[in-house]
Each structure stands twice: as structure tokens, then as C-alpha cells.
């Protein structure tokens, strides 16, 4: 295996891989875990990547999944405490200390909620809205048609809008005033 191959396949998307993982987990240790898991997965799936229509898309998809797996695992570990000890999240709790923090919390909630979507939808909307991939490439990465990719993204958006109506209304209000 020549070093040049790594440089050709992995290096061009190193930054995107790092950004994708970081923006989903937002914790240095979790990011490290997720990134390591993603690289291990890339190694295990190198045969699949080689034959894939969109290898870069597939690698990013692996990163997205690794990051959400870490989030899910962490959520599971904390749920026991959350069920009994912690106050209800967001809508029932008092406002955050500052507007900026509140916005940040909202973003984190949305990102975490993506992890609860069906896997194809979570992958599709992340590839679309975060990585800015065209639908054709998303379809290649997911192994489905462009039309199906559009459907996954649309359904993910709809579900997120349903889950966070207050954010959407807030966004509309801010944008129109």
C-alpha cells in the first residue's frame, strides 16, 4: 500500500471528517472516541469503500454514524440519572442564563435529535445540511436513488420541525422582524 493512496483518498476529506465528528459530539473525548471508531470502520470497510460510487460520501457517512453512536451510547449511560435526578429538558425548565447559551443549547438539542431519527434520514440530512452534498452524491453514499435521498432529507426535516416547533417559529419571527 503506497502512502500516495492514503493521500489521494483520505487526505482530501480529513478536515471534513474531523468537522463532521466534532460538530455532532461537541466533546473532546467523545470526538476522539468517535473519530477512532470511524477510522476503524473505514479500515474494516475498505473493500466496500473501494467499490463504492462515492467513496468520500461513504467515509463521511461512517463518520456521521460513529459520532451518533457515541452520542447514543452516552445518552444511554446518562439516562438513568436523567430519569430520576435531572429536571425536564428545555420546555419546562427556566430560561437559559443568556440568549447565546440558549441558542447553543437549541442547536445541540437538534443535533442530538438527529441521532434519534431513522438512520438513513439522519445520515441524509447531515450529509445535506452539514456537508452540503448534492442529492445525487447523497444517494450514492447511502446506496439509494437521488429521489430516495431527497425523500430521506425531506422526512428528516419534517420530523425535526415537528420535534422543535418553537425553534422554527422563533426562526421565522427573527427573520421577519
Amino acid at each position: 500500500m503506497a502512502t500516495g493512496d492514503y493521500d489521494r483518498v483520505i487526505r482530501p476529506i480529513e478536515d471534513r471528517m474531523m468537522r463532521t465528528v466534532w460538530h455532532i459530539v461537541r466533546d473532546p473525548d467523545d470526538a476522539d472516541d468517535a473519530f477512532q471508531a470511524a477510522l476503524a470502520k473505514v479500515w474494516v470497510n475498505r473493500g466496500k469503500i473501494a467499490g463504492h460510487a462515492n467513496p468520500h460520501g461513504l467515509i463521511l457517512r461512517i463518520c456521521i454514524n460513529a459520532a451518533y453512536d457515541v452520542l447514543r451510547q452516552k445518552a444511554k449511560q446518562r439516562r438513568v440519572a436523567a430519569l430520576q435526578v435531572l429536571p425536564p429538558v428545555r420546555q419546562d425548565s427556566s430560561p437559559s442564563p443568556s440568549e447565546r447559551l440558549a441558542v447553543e443549547e437549541d442547536h445541540l438539542m437538534v443535533l442530538k435529535a438527529i441521532g434519534e431519527l431513522p438512520r438513513n434520514q439522519a445520515e441524509a440530512i447531515t450529509l445535506r445540511c452539514v456537508e452540503g452534498l448534492p442529492y445525487r452524491e447523497i444517494g450514492d453514499a447511502l446506496g439509494c436513488s437521488e429521489v430516495t435521498a431527497r425523500t430521506h432529507v425531506a422526512r428528516a426535516r419534517e420530523r425535526l420541525c415537528e420535534m422543535f416547533p418553537h425553534l422554527v417559529r422563533q426562526g421565522m419571527k427573527e427573520a421577519t422582524t
Partner: protein, 463 residues
């Protein structure tokens, strides 16, 4: 049109904004180190010739659905379930779930791998009595590569890595996910075994969350159909399987070991003999540990894991013996093995809190507090929860008594479990209520408040 007039556009903007922050330098440096290691691996362990060079030339191929495998995770869980002792409380959702399950003909149980393919797929035909009639499992991971089909007459178990098929009758051996699911739910209606959180969100839909305390596992129930949508991280649906799903077909070229009555005798491969010998050795090891003979327990556990490397409890007790012998480095390795096997075999299941606790204490014994805390951070919330739900102490109790589950052996009462947990919490944190006469409720409040205040020291952010 202003994009914000469409809620979907707002959501895109929120997502875009959420992702526009730079990766911190510290994180970036760590990731670069990972990439450097990764690159070295490429250089040290070459891929097949022409592997990467094919990348740009190969046309799109159809989505490959890989049916994958893992027997042990849920087998472990089901085995633990078999050890349970149930005591009594009615629960609203589960009674209806039991009835609903009796109406379904088939269950399709799936766990996906990170790349979206099936890592574990099972089909179960359920009879009118709620019990399994036919079954199919296809599981693969780096540890387990297993396929099985069971019909009314035959059980075929295909150990793919060993290219060996073993045939049994159902009377000799059964393969199952959760053998008697309806009855299991029925049992969980008993007092203290479950906590139900109604009307939570599950993948964007309303669902009831059912926590099974003794296994520390969860199921999400569809409020309309009352059927489980997800059990222990597995997706569950109820469609009929494709034709031939339960056909018994022996793979070409596989070694066949027919253990059915009347079949001609055949020499078993050594790995089968080893696995059959492992439980007896493990029993001997547990007896030695219970008697305080840690050297003997260590030796026998080490022999057991050689025979059956996926037996997580053998790894755990090996670590226990080595901790007792102050061989903390080895013990940490053994506890890590428990955690890794769990993660590999059943990544959607709850982590083995008892192993994290044991490893955290072993790190602490070595003076490695910075390594101890992340492990204790996994275990402590569960340990504190046990004070409220003592039935959740099951796995901690198993990890505390080498003879747990043996016939005639004393099973801790909920009261004893709580007392034991007070000791473990003091051991893990060095803390305890100052008032020795504090009631259980006061102790519970003490520990819940303590965790709220100190979670951040353990690297856990609570809201």
C-alpha cells in the same frame, strides 16, 4: 420568498449554523494524531494490490444488504433473565403488550451496523401460545459469525468462522432471541421489575419507554398497537418473512456434526470440545474464588477464557481474582476485555456497569485517578439508581458473588442489595452520609444530590 417562511428552511438554517463553528485546536490535534496512526497502518498493512486505484473507476453498484450476526449479546441477556426472581406489581402498558404479542405471527428483529447494513437479523415465528415456533438468526461481528435456523424438528447452527454446521433436535438444543417473549413481558409486570415512562419521543414518534431494571435494558412500546418498536436497541417489526426463511439448508463444503439421536457418530472438532469443557472449568473457578483461593481461581479462569474467549463472566472473574492478588494491570486488561466484548457483541445494549466499576477501582488502586474517574462516571449513576430501584442491583450482585445463581445459593434481598450498594458507593467515592442513622430515603436523597454536585468532576455534564 423569504426562506424563513418555510419551517423546513428554518431547520436547514439552524443546522447550518450549528455546524459553522471551528474544531478546537486541542481536538484537531488529537484527531491528527489518530490520522497519523491510521496512515501508518495503511503503510504497515497493505491492502490488496490495486485496491485504492480502483476507486475512481468502479461504477455504482447496487446497495448490498449484508445480513450479519451475533449470538451472544442477547443470549447473555436472556441467560441473565433466566436467573431472575420476580416479585409483584401490575403495570399498565405491559399487560396490553403481552396480549398484543399473542396476536402477532412473526417478529423481525434487526440491529444495524454503523454502515447501515444488518449486523444482526432474526426472524421469529410465534405460536398462539406466545412461544417461539420457528427461528432464524444471522449474525456477524469480529467476534461472532453465526447463522442458525430452527424449525419444529431440527436446529441447524452454522459457525461460519469454523465452517462447521451442528445439527440438533429442538429437544437437545434450541436457539432463540428471547425464548418466551410474551412470558418475559408477563414476568416484567411484577412489582419493581420495570419503570414505565409513558409518552416519550422515540425517533420522532410517541412511545412508552419501559426500563427493565434487572437487565438495565429498555424497550419502546408503540402506544397504538402496544407492540414493542425496539427492544434492547434492536428494531422490531412484525411482517411475514420471505419464503424459505426457515428452511434448513446445509451450506456446501461445511463440516457437519450431526448430534441428533440415531445419527452416525462423528469426531467433533477440538474447538467444540473446548467449549463444552469450559462451563465445568468455570464452575470450578467460581467455587475456588468463593472459597478465597484466588490463585486457583485465577488459574482456572485463565484456562476457561482460553477455551471460550467470549465468556465475559470468565474474564470478569479473572480480573476479580487478579485484583485480589494485587495484579492490577492484568485485572484492568481483563475488565477491559469484558467491556470490549460487550461493545462488540451487543453495541446497543447497556454497558456492563459492574465491569466499569471494577476497572475504575483497579485504576484507583494503581493511583491512576484520572483513568478511574471516566469508568466510575459510567457506573455511579446506575449505582445510585439502584438505591431507588434495588431490583436493578442484579448485575452488581452477580459481580459480587462468584456463586450467584447457583441452586440453593442465597439471593440477596432488595434490602441487602441496597446495603451492599451503600458500601460500594462509599468505596467508589470515599463519601457517605455523615448521619449513620439516616433513613433509606435520606441516603437516597444524599446520593442523588451528591451526584448532581459532583458529576462534573467525573466529566459528566448534567442538565
Amino acid at each position: 420568498m423569504n426562506t424563513s417562511e418555510k419551517p423546513e428552511a428554518d431547520m436547514d438554517a439552524i443546522l447550518g449554523h450549528a455546524m459553522d463553528k471551528p474544531v478546537p485546536v486541542e481536538v484537531r490535534e488529537r484527531m491528527h494524531r489518530r490520522l497519523a496512526d491510521f496512515r501508518e497502518r495503511f503503510e504497515a498493512e497493505p491492502a490488496p494490490a490495486g485496491f485504492w486505484t480502483r476507486l475512481s473507476a468502479i461504477p455504482p453498484r447496487a446497495k448490498a444488504v449484508v445480513f450479519a450476526a451475533t449470538a451472544a449479546g442477547l443470549a447473555v441477556a436472556a441467560g441473565i433473565a433466566a436467573l431472575m426472581i420476580f416479585t409483584a406489581r401490575p403495570a399498565y402498558a405491559l399487560g396490553q403488550t403481552l396480549q398484543a404479542l399473542k396476536q402477532v405471527g412473526f417478529m423481525h428483529v434487526v440491529r444495524h451496523s454503523a454502515d447501515g447494513t444488518f449486523a444482526d437479523e432474526r426472524w421469529i415465528e410465534i405460536g398462539a401460545n406466545g412461544r417461539q415456533v420457528r427461528y432464524r438468526q444471522d449474525t456477524h461481528s469480529t467476534l461472532i459469525n453465526f447463522f442458525a435456523v430452527q424449525d419444529e424438528k431440527t436446529v441447524l447452527a452454522h459457525y461460519k468462522d469454523k465452517n462447521t454446521v451442528v445439527l440438533y433436535t429442538p429437544a437437545q438444543q434450541t436457539v432463540e432471541w428471547i425464548g418466551d417473549l410474551g412470558e418475559l413481558f408477563n414476568d416484567f409486570q411484577n412489582e419493581g421489575n420495570v419503570v414505565i415512562e409513558p409518552n416519550v419521543q422515540f425517533r420522532g414518534h410517541r412511545a412508552h419507554l419501559v426500563r427493565w431494571l434487572k437487565l438495565n435494558e429498555e424497550a419502546y412500546i408503540d402506544p397504538d398497537t402496544k407492540l414493542p418498536l425496539s427492544i434492547m436497541g434492536y428494531d422490531v417489526s412484525y411482517e411475514a418473512p420471505p419464503a424459505g426463511t426457515f428452511d434448513i439448508v446445509i451450506p456446501k463444503g461445511a463440516l457437519v456434526v450431526d448430534k441428533r439421536p440415531g445419527a452416525p457418530p462423528v469426531e467433533e472438532p477440538q474447538w467444540m470440545k473446548d467449549q463444552e469443557a469450559a462451563p465445568a472449568k468455570f464452575d470450578e473457578a467460581r467455587a475456588a474464588l468463593a472459597a478465597g483461593d484466588y490463585e486457583k481461581g485465577e488459574r482456572l479462569c485463565a484456562e476457561t477464557v482460553k477455551l471460550w474467549p467470549e465468556l465475559t463472566w470468565a474474564w470478569y472473574w479473572l480480573g476479580y481474582a487478579q485484583s485480589k492478588l494485587a495484579k492490577y494491570d492484568q485485572a484492568i486488561g481483563d475488565y477491559t476485555k469484558v467491556i470490549e466484548v460487550f461493545r462488540e457483541v451487543c453495541p446497543t445494549a447497556a454497558p456492563p456497569h459492574y465491569a466499569y466499576l471494577a476497572r475504575g477501582l483497579a485504576y484507583r488502586a494503581k493511583g491512576m485517578e484520572e483513568r478511574a474517574k471516566p469508568d466510575l462516571a459510567v457506573a455511579l449513576p446506575m449505582m445510585i439508581d439502584v438505591l431507588r430501584h434495588p431490583e436493578g442491583a442484579q448485575l452488581f450482585n452477580m459481580a459480587d458473588d462468584p456463586l450467584f445463581g447457583k441452586q440453593q445459593h442465597h439471593m440477596p434481598t432488595p434490602e441487602e442489595s441496597k446495603r451492599r450498594m451503600y458500601d460500594l458507593l462509599r468505596l467508589a467515592t470515599g463519601q457517605a452520609p455523615t448521619d449513620a442513622t439516616a433513613s433509606d430515603e435520606q441516603r437516597l436523597v444524599f446520593w442523588e444530590n451528591w451526584w448532581k454536585v459532583h458529576a462534573a468532576e467525573y466529566g459528566v455534564v448534567t442538565r
